[in-house]
């Protein structure tokens, strides 16, 4: 085996980006790739291109109406897919389908035992709900992975860990009452930032009560605050013993992001990735998928994501 890590980077994924000076532009993948090649990380991870997920695969998580509507708006080439954050552009359906398809390809390769870990910088679209796009997220690739693990591979106990500066509402609410989705999310306090949710008191409902951990951080919080709270994430995962980890490593929580107010350095992302690899080795047969998520300062996303990829490459050390 050349590598235990599979990295998803290709042109089709790079096309997932919005026009007209939108913060999520099409240059984000390249910004990461330049730094990854600088650090020679591309030499230690196996590379893979993406494929388009079928409408049926996307509909494992999403309502068919949402899938069809994105297709129509994509053909139309303009308009808003949500309430104003997520504009349509020609080809938005195909680009979004590739984000999901790359995730499903990665999942299939992990489940086939070809690799232990995957990293997909353009992915982690954690605001899309089952029936709507939201916050730059058209299709929820992480949600499709979780529902696919269940329907196709019989794995129900999945951990979703999210350190993006925004609350992962597109994963929290669909699984709020779910008895097997172990949820842990450190984000900027919703009283100060979109989407406004993810209070400490949101611990899950019904059969999912206590299985969800939301940790809101005050604006300006830095590495020291993160490291202290991170211990709770590890304890939460250990207590609930997942069989598979999905990690959303949004780089918009690093100091200098134009949309948010946390003050981490890229070391937080590397630390979280290293520790999650350890937990995955302990509880999940090493199986973990990483997604880039948000991040609108190009230097930050390049350094943050390279820290994650580097940790994944060293994962079994």
């Amino acid at each position: 085996m050349k590598s235990e890590v599979l990295l998803y980077v290709d042109e089709a994924l790079g096309r997932y980006g919005f026009p007209d000076g939108h913060p999520w532009g099409t240059d984000r993948q390249n910004a990461f790739w330049r730094e990854a090649t600088n650090q020679k990380l591309d030499k230690s991870a196996a590379l893979s291109g993406s494929r388009a997920a079928s409408a049926g695969e996307i509909a494992r998580f999403h309502g068919e109406e949402h899938v069809q509507r994105v297709h129509q708006l994509s053909d139309l080439g303009h308009g808003s897919i949500d309430y104003g954050d997520t504009p349509a552009f020609p080809g938005v359906y195909e680009a979004s389908a590739h984000v999901v398809g790359a995730a499903l390809d990665g999942l299939a390769r992990i489940m086939a035992g070809e690799v232990l870990r995957t990293f997909q910088p353009i992915g982690g679209l954690h605001h899309a709900s089952r029936d709507n796009a939201a916050g730059f997220c058209v299709f929820n690739d992480c949600g499709v992975v979780i529902d696919t693990l269940r329907s196709q591979y019989g794995i129900r106990r999945v951990a979703y860990v999210d350190i993006d500066v925004h609350h992962g509402d597109g994963l929290y609410y669909p699984y709020e009452s779910d008895a097997d989705l172990v949820y842990a999310d450190i984000h900027e306090d919703g009283r100060f930032l979109y989407p406004g949710t993810g209070a400490e008191t949101e611990r899950g409902k019904g059969a999912g009560a206590g299985l969800k951990l939301n940790i809101p951080m005050k604006p300006g919080a830095g590495n020291a605050e993160f490291m202290a709270e991170w211990e709770r994430v590890e304890a939460h995962l250990r207590a609930h013993k997942p069989e598979f980890i999905v990690f959303q490593a949004g780089a918009d929580s690093i100091a200098g992001d134009p949309l948010a107010h946390l003050q981490y350095t890229p070391e937080t992302h590397a630390h979280a990735a290293r520790r999650l690899c350890v937990l995955a080795n302990e509880m999940c047969q090493g199986r973990i998928m990483g997604f880039g998520g948000g991040g609108y300062n190009r230097t930050n996303l390049a350094l943050g994501w390279c820290g994650v990829l580097d940790a994944f490459i060293r994962g079994s050390e």
Partner: protein
């Protein structure tokens, strides 16, 4: 509606939850400000002219 694409501010404005900005928001705002300024100038000029004439 809380939008994600609102740019972060460096001062305490960041503590307002209901920042209802969007990508088009600033364009619209600057247009409205420009329009109001123009309207106000026309109004001032008219009232000065009225004073001079009466």
């Amino acid at each position: 509606m809380l939008l994600k694409s609102t740019a972060a501010t460096e001062d305490t404005e960041a503590t307002e939850k209901n920042k209802t900005g969007s990508l088009g928001f600033w364009k619209v705002t600057s247009f409205v400000v420009m329009y109001l300024t123009l309207l106000f100038s026309v109004f001032s000029v008219t009232s000065v002219a009225k004073k001079v004439l009466t």
